[in-house]
Symmetry: C2
Amino acid sequence: MKTQDLYQAYSTRMQKIADVKSASAVLQWDQETHMPPRGAHFRGQQISTLSEISHELATEASFGVLLQSLAAKEDLGKNEKRNILRSLEDYERSKKYTASFVRELSGQVNKTFHAWLEARKQNAFPVFEPELAKLVDLKKQEADLLGYDVHPYNALLDEFEKGSTVDLLDKSFDHLLPQLKELLQKIAAAPQVQDDFLHQHFPKQQQWDWGLYLLKQLHFDFESGRQDISEHPFSISFSASDVRVTTRVDENDFANMTWSCIHEAGHALYEQGLLAEYYGLPLGEACSYSIHESQSRLWENNVGRSLGFWKHYFPELQKHFPEQLGRLGLEDFYKGINKVQSSMVRTEADEITYHFHVFIRYQLEKKLVEGSLKTREIPEFWGAQYKELLGVEVKEDKRGSLQDVHWSHGSFGYFPTYSLGSFYAAQFFEEAKKQMPALEDEISKGQVINLLQWLRTEIHEKGRFHTSEELCREVTGKTLDVSYFVNSLLYKYKSIYTL
Amino acid sequence: MKTQDLYQAYSTRMQKIADVKSASAVLQWDQETHMPPRGAHFRGQQISTLSEISHELATEASFGVLLQSLAAKEDLGKNEKRNILRSLEDYERSKKYTASFVRELSGQVNKTFHAWLEARKQNAFPVFEPELAKLVDLKKQEADLLGYDVHPYNALLDEFEKGSTVDLLDKSFDHLLPQLKELLQKIAAAPQVQDDFLHQHFPKQQQWDWGLYLLKQLHFDFESGRQDISEHPFSISFSASDVRVTTRVDENDFANMTWSCIHEAGHALYEQGLLAEYYGLPLGEACSYSIHESQSRLWENNVGRSLGFWKHYFPELQKHFPEQLGRLGLEDFYKGINKVQSSMVRTEADEITYHFHVFIRYQLEKKLVEGSLKTREIPEFWGAQYKELLGVEVKEDKRGSLQDVHWSHGSFGYFPTYSLGSFYAAQFFEEAKKQMPALEDEISKGQVINLLQWLRTEIHEKGRFHTSEELCREVTGKTLDVSYFVNSLLYKYKSIYTL
């Protein structure tokens, strides 16, 4: 068979898998946005069936043979070769899972998720713990199935961040945390900024309109996407030309919707920027979780919490909410939206304390997986760490170790990608400013199209050609260097808190 | 293997097929209600892939062997036996299609649909005709593949209405049409009723609220369903506990939304009334197209256009629209909403002329399939029939032979089920009144729960146990008798037009 015919067969199979996965994504999106309550039971079953079908299609032995034979071909272009390489990596990783293990894991995830829901209702970690313990055991088995060097957590990290390791993460946090601690101490000693204005009454419809306005300003393409309401904001893609974002509106907390809109827009712009010609193929997929997060955080923080951005948009915002914000000054607005304050809940954290939340979860996951911490010891460990690192007293499980859904989904190794995302974002943004000297000036005029175009070319359109680290080197000339992130924070907060 | 284990394997496979079909239905629903415009391309591909997968699952040879061996078992209950019988019928029908024919047909349907869209834009049947001609050829081949007695159209009818034949339909129409013609002549000679009040301005949001109110009154279960807006109203089900209806709002035509809401609610109540324990199995599916339509029409016409129903709801309606309807009398409202007037467009037709629209399409399909009419002769035949039967001059293709989407979907044999639906509805409603002497009194108090409960027990919960004709005999003690329909019209219009 000719190489091009084999490649065509590969591409057809990959698109078929993408079709099934996208269908499953539509069902999940509907579940979170529109589904009537009693639809849940069969919807769960429908999503499981689609997962099973896409898993079968992706792991069929004959497909492995096809990938192997294509991997040996010389007469493929660079991009085709890279698609095959990535697909083969995925295939070989998937094949390590036995069918019985996949079933057992998915059954346990289901039980653990329901235990988590119930535990939150009762505000009691012990309701969650027995199921979580069983799930952690399965995750250890998974690490063994997958194989690893040095630390079993590396095997799990690899699912979310190919090439990341305990060693690399430890080094990053070791470099970062002492400096953040020092910064936090200085901020604590300085007069606190005010953000009361965020907690006035902001009517739902007006916030919704403001959110849509912001999405349009950021060039979210409404011909290829839409926004809806859900309990927790998320973004999801069914193809580069159908990308959905969701948000929620809290009438007494203006910050909630605005920056979640910008954050999800960042994810969505990445998905809308993937090349449709590679639909279903690795080059048509996002590079990694951390690079995805770098896009959401770059827009949310580096752009969306900058003074320049609000130089242009604060007057617009005042037009939307003259009563609430008409008398507020830009400087005070800027300081308020960047207020630093230790808190118990990760998703409510500022740009600095956020990474202590992540670090605590990372420590904990590592210890659970290596067996040096038992699941029943989680609340104690959690409380002690929050006390030590953030100085806060965790008074209830609901806002403590039960606050995140991730573990109940079986996601161990996911949290670190949130911090990595911020680190990459800072390094990318610094590079963008270097390459486009007028960028900050443009942003302060509300023009972000050149930034978006740069991200499209440098990051989005490359798909999964590179790993995160390769991409970082490709874009910035260096591997990940957390100093960019630290320095940007030092610079920013020095002026906000006049340190 | 034990019979129960075999049956379990059968049930698992059937549920898997239902999961994939339901997923496809979610994608179609989203496509018509929420999808951004550029999502269409990959959405089409995703839906095709799911159809292909469900077709493969349903026609796999090993599944056929399983069905055959279950069909030979004695130790199954009555319901289990019926499930197997129906599934085997479906399987054997599906197996008659070769894979290459399915591909060719679906490719031609796609081309024909796009030609139809373009033809409507240009208001020119000749743009549609060449693709339609090819599709008709394929439908003739399909009739040959399926096999038939007497007339090839019977093979196609069978897809939508098992057991229906040209002979039976001809007899029904022969009995019906002369009487309807006579009635129309009498009505034409009587003073016309007024319906101008329907064409005032009815604001969108208020119509929407009124529609939701009506759905609640009809016991549409919003815990197991929801309503959205789409260009053409439809209902669709993802399980008995997730049934969606859609509507459209025309601010200058009150009738448009109200009776489409009631019509779609009728379909949806049927789906919500199917037994969840039979999800994926024939006994958990609707009996047939005509019985489905009998439910929508019973609610829309026999209930929703009756004087009794509006005795209760017209005062409610006046509260919703005091400005538009506050000074109108109930009798005038009732007459207006039942105005009889020949028109060019089927979906705008009244209860009498509607069936001439269906009859014309039925004649035409029969002739196309038997080869006595060429596709290029359609507009002429269409015009002549509309002139002769309805006395209207068809002036443009868009509102003539291009008005319906059905043929472009390859649906030949579908239209007759619309008329059959009305006939069954009249017979069922007559039986309901006989069995529940208080029914009309209840309806005039706005109480329809006993009627719904009766339909649930007599029709919905039986699923596909019976064919349409068997069900009709089961429910009313007689096979379909079009006199019930004719008499109900004679009785109704005698009083409206004082004939």
